[in-house]
């Protein structure tokens, strides 16, 4: 049964090689006998080896091959033999010799003299009785040349070794070199196989349109494939893996009923800081953390009403708040920055929100910036996932509820919340998720409920706004097992082609 199955699955190359296996074990002979190219034979042998039909053996051996003169002597005969034949017809002087090349003359005479086959008398060469005897039978050397090459030195008989020694010393008759010799050994399965008919004339290799048209595929077998075999890899077009992750997160927020916010990456400090009750002397507003814009240092403030109420919330506070005190500087608020968080989008959204649209839920996913030296764990661009819930009845437990749900959908069953501090939220929360594989907590970033100093100027009254903005890159890196944060954007095409799809 097994043999039959193997026969059904034989590749045309294998079918061509198998008959030769009955006669030969050596690679070179298999090539000659099958009439295939060496690579084809090798491929077929490897396949057969995988099928446990045979084993391929590689041994280093000393091999003898015919050289240029050797091949020519095989056809024309050895020069000494030809000289002997000529002399057998008539005695000749050296100059009268016809069948030999000039350089062959001396050596031939020498060889024949040694065997007492000729005589030299006053410039005339003549054959002896011994010579005539020699003419009747083939010499060891002649026999040797007629053997099938390549020959292994170790397999020679004594007289062959004698012939080898004689011929080796002569010019370009034989080549002896060390070579890797490939041979095969049939397994018992192989021995069984070679006795079968493997021609497979009725086996279809490839189904063609012609076969379909004329129906010639009927009553024939299809060659059986080894379906477990490895195939060459192909690559397709795809979205960048970071975007795949962001799109997934986006879908989670939309499923939870959130509406997308977008907006510019360059913002005035007014929206990035002041509207979020970040004191004007807060360290985050200093050069080393934030990117400021050299070409266009300042932008415009929005209308006076909102500017005045933000100013008041900073200087004196709003509705029962003390504020930061001091003077609020509107020039500082005009300073352009590359947004340090997507929370500036939330501030703008609250400002533009109509009362009749409440309760409302918004999210944003976007690139933010921080002026930071580049290394394996620091990047000047990062992704944040932002969310706000504007609802007069919202509370702290709801905040934790949304966050827990989001991270659950991101694949983290366990989330932990710790107290934190941000100028614009109260209470403030730090979010950790528990990594199920590494068995440790991952710190992801902040959340909280916007302070009245934020919501009163933007919304007109104190309505609780749940807000969060954890970083997203650590989750992406974790999923793709990326250790160096720079790999997120180094666009190694090999990596882009091979990296798995985001699938959560």
């Amino acid at each position: 049964m097994e043999v039959e199955k193997i026969i059904d699955g034989l590749h045309p190359l294998e079918r061509k090689v198998i008959p030769s296996l009955k006669k030969y074990t050596r690679f070179e002979y298999l090539i000659k006998d099958s009439g295939l190219k060496d690579v084809e034979v090798m491929r077929a042998l490897q396949w057969l080896e995988n099928k446990k039909v045979l084993e391929i053996k590689k041994v280093e051996k000393e091999l003898i091959e015919l050289d240029e003169n050797g091949r020519s002597y095989l056809k024309k005969g050895l020069p000494e033999k030809r000289l002997l034949q000529e002399l057998n017809e008539s005695n000749k002087s050296i100059h009268e010799i016809k069948t030999l090349e000039k350089e062959e003359v001396g050596i031939s005479i020498g060889a024949l003299k040694k065997k007492a086959a000729i005589l030299m008398n006053q410039g005339q060469l003549s054959i002896t009785e011994q010579g005539k005897k020699l003419l009747e039978k083939e010499s060891f050397e002649e026999l040797f040349l007629k053997k099938e090459f390549p020959l292994e030195v170790s397999s020679l008989k004594d007289e062959e070794k004698f012939a080898l020694n004689n011929l080796k010393s002569r010019k370009q008759i034989l080549k002896v070199e060390k070579r890797k010799l490939i041979s095969i050994e049939l397994t018992s399965l192989g021995k069984e196989l070679i006795e079968k008919d493997v021609r497979g004339e009725d086996v279809i290799e490839r189904l063609t349109p012609k076969m379909l048209k004329d129906g010639s595929w009927k009553n024939k077998k299809f060659r059986r494939y080894d379906v477990s075999i490895n195939v060459p890899q192909i690559n397709g077009g795809k979205k960048h893996f970071v975007n795949q992750a962001l799109e997934y997160a986006k879908q989670v927020w939309m499923d939870l009923g959130f509406k997308e916010m977008t907006g510019p990456k360059v913002q005035t400090s007014f929206w990035n800081f002041d509207a979020l009750f970040t004191a004007q002397d807060h360290p985050v507003r200093e050069m080393q953390d934030t990117f400021f814009i050299g070409s266009i240092p300042k932008g415009k403030l929005p209308d006076k009403k909102i500017v005045d109420s933000i100013k008041e919330s900073h200087e004196k506070g709003v509705e029962g708040s003390l504020g930061w005190g001091g003077k609020w500087n509107d020039e500082l608020a005009k300073t352009n920055v590359l947004r340090t968080h997507t929370t500036c989008l939330s501030a703008k959204t609250l400002y533009n929100l109509k009362k009749e649209d409440m309760p409302a839920k918004f999210f944003a996913l976007g690139r933010c910036f921080r002026n930071e030296a580049l290394d394996w764990s620091h990047l000047f661009e990062f992704n944040q996932t932002e969310g706000i819930v504007v609802d007069p009845n919202a509370n702290f437990r709801n905040l934790l509820g949304y966050l827990k749900q989001f991270f659950k959908k991101m694949g983290f069953e366990k989330a932990r919340f710790r107290p934190a501090y941000f100028p614009y939220t109260e209470p403030s929360v730090e979010i950790d998720v528990f990594h199920p594989v590494h068995q440790k907590w991952l710190e992801l970033g902040g959340a909280g409920i916007f302070r009245p100093e934020v919501t009163i100027p933007l919304l007109g009254k104190e309505i609780p706004v749940l807000a969060w903005g954890p970083g997203f890159d650590r989750l992406i890196m974790d999923f793709y097992k990326i250790k160096d944060i720079r790999e997120l954007y180094n666009n190694n095409i090999e990596q882009l082609r091979k990296i798995k799809a985001w699938n959560k």
């Binding site: 077009g237 001091g326 709801n398 710790r418 095409i493």
Partner: protein, 550 residues
């Protein structure tokens, strides 16, 4: 955020209880500080900037002890009158108008305690004091001072004294250039006609705030037991809190606090003032914000764990707390005391409709079409440099420059996306071809907007392989436009990044939205590319605007 190092033994004796290490770690984190680690006898914690009162071992232990229920409620500190005076001369008004002062007696300043007071001073300087700008603190051995002390301002050329760590007397102005602390903080006084100084009754200079104390009287040593403390700055309320943080920490070292009388603007004010601050708070507000159902007793207990007293809708807040600005701040106090881990997360049943931004949706569609053609998407930085954007591309765009960017290779905002893709091709020279890639990214240019900068999202496609030409890239472009059902025409144009005669300008509704062409070999050489590149760049923001208006 500042890190504070606590001595575990001292800390435990201040707290009044020794917790197992795991519980200690957990409780520190849940109090609202970041535990950096515990090593041997050292506990390292990060203190959030809203709690400067926790920057000292004493302050931290005080808050922690309440939190774990050991010593709860408002702490009482006794203050005695010292009978001494501080005169605040009106000359300081324009340079550093306020100071708040105190005396603390009876501390044995051993090395440990000297280290501790230096730590408090430094941490307060860098955080709450905003690097000495908003508040600077001076601590002096009391025995070397004769009261009344005067806070005044004078021409810095006229005042000479020997600053700490220097051999000779130099003028106030020289300090700014010659003394290390002077150089570091010079910017706080530079350009002022007069500098602020403290002097004692014998006209001996005590210090030049916020820079340096004098050598004679400005250094506490191991024989010191009594100290004079001043905080100077611009907001009296702010300085009073700063002073309170220090004196309560010293009182927790068994020091005794004495007040001083400040004479200022014909007014007499006593500092320090440790009278608790009264706030109104109603239970309903707390319950509504937190989603809890606490009663008055529970609220009282929770607030006492944060060091406050509560009774009948009134909270008494310790005078060293700098962070209570609004009654909302008690919400967090209660939440921390209740324990964040004890809240049950809950998603309310509020129905809202999820919605994707329409332009984002459009970009997603564009991406899908290109992926269908077998293109690979790249994601590149918005930050780049002039060399990549202009020089290598043989053009001269007016780019938006960043101020003081840490990385010189990333000090501009990109004006177009093709150079970002050229950079990707350059980084992938040894990878298999064809390399057909695209990227969608924000570009920046000057224009009329809130910030004076206009941002557009643009799509760039580059095809790179041996056989690429104008036809190949136009085919991709054409396919995209047909799939989006947008009619366009291409006109002959010139663009120095492309081969002359092989670059077209794409017009939709009479607006230019794209360039399509073969990249110039000079540009390829600049990027060390060995295969031809055909590319297009399409302004998706504009295109979307055009088709949306149709």
């Amino acid at each position: 955020m500042p890190t504070v190092t606590l001595n575990k033994e001292v800390f435990e004796s201040l707290v009044g209880k020794k917790l197992p290490i795991e519980e200690l770690k957990d409780r520190i984190s849940m109090l609202g500080t970041d535990l950096e680690g515990i090593e041997g006898n050292e506990i390292n914690v990060e203190v959030f900037p809203n709690r400067p009162d926790m920057l000292s071992e004493q302050g931290f232990a005080r808050a922690f002890s309440s939190f774990i229920g050991e010593k709860t409620g408002l702490r009482k500190y006794e203050i005695e009158k010292s009978g001494e005076k501080i005169i605040i001369d009106e000359s300081v008004k324009d340079v550093r108008p306020f100071t708040a002062c105190a005396i603390v007696k009876g501390i044995n300043f051993d090395d440990e305690k000297i280290k501790e007071i230096i730590q408090i001073q430094e941490k307060l300087h860098t955080t709450y004091g905003r690097n000495r700008k908003k508040a600077a603190i001076g601590v002096y051995p009391l025995e070397k001072i004769n009261f009344p002390v005067t806070f005044f301002a004078e021409d810095p050329n006229k005042i000479k004294f020997q600053p700490l760590e220097m051999q000779n007397e130099i003028t106030g102005l020289q300090i700014l250039s010659k003394h290390p602390a002077g150089r570091e903080f010079a910017h706080l006084l530079e350009g002022k006609d007069k500098f602020p100084f403290f002097k004692d009754a014998n006209n001996k200079i005590l210090s030049m705030p916020p820079i340096i104390n004098s050598h004679d009287v400005g250094k506490i040593g191991d024989k010191t037991t009594d100290v004079f403390i001043e905080c100077s700055g611009f907001d009296f309320g702010y300085l009073k809190v700063c002073l309170n943080i220090i004196v309560t920490a010293l009182a927790d070292m068994n020091g005794k606090i004495y007040s001083l009388e400040l004479e200022m603007d014909n007014q007499k004010i006593i500092t320090p003032d440790l009278k608790p601050v009264e706030w109104e708070l109603d239970l309903e507000y707390v319950n509504k914000r937190l989603g809890l159902e606490l009663n008055e007793t529970e609220l009282t207990e929770l607030l006492s764990k944060m060091g406050h007293d509560y009774k009948d809708g009134k909270v008494l807040v310790p005078a060293y707390r700098a962070d209570i600005m609004h009654k909302v701040d008690f919400i967090e106090e209660v939440a921390i005391a209740y324990g964040y881990e004890n809240f049950v997360p809950e998603i309310p049943k509020v129905s809202t409709i999820g919605q994707e931004d329409s332009f984002e949706k459009f970009k997603k569609k564009v991406s899908e079409i290109l992926v269908g053609l077998g293109l690979l998407q790249t994601e590149t930085y918005h930050l780049t440099n002039n060399n990549d954007q202009n020089v290598k591309m043989s053009i001269d765009l007016d780019l938006i420059e960043l101020k003081s960017a840490v990385n010189n290779d990333y000090n501009m905002l990109r004006g177009w996306v093709i150079p970002s893709l050229m950079n990707v091709l350059n980084k992938n020279l040894n990878k298999e071809y064809p390399q057909d890639i695209y990227g969608v990214g924000t570009t920046f240019k000057k224009g009329d907007s809130e910030t004076g900068i206009i941002e557009n999202d643009r799509l760039a496609v580059t095809l790179c392989n041996e056989k690429v030409n104008f036809t190949s890239i136009k085919q991709v472009f054409d396919f995209l436009m047909r799939m989006l059902d947008i009619e366009y025409k291409i006109e002959d144009t010139e663009h120095l990044s492309f081969i002359p005669g092989r670059v077209g300008r794409v017009i939709v509704n009479e607006k230019e939205v794209a360039y399509v062409g073969e990249i110039h070999p000079l540009v390829l050489e600049n990027w060390q590319l060995v295969n031809p590149v055909a590319a297009f760049e399409l302004n998706l923001s504009e295109l979307f605007g055009l088709i949306k208006n149709e």
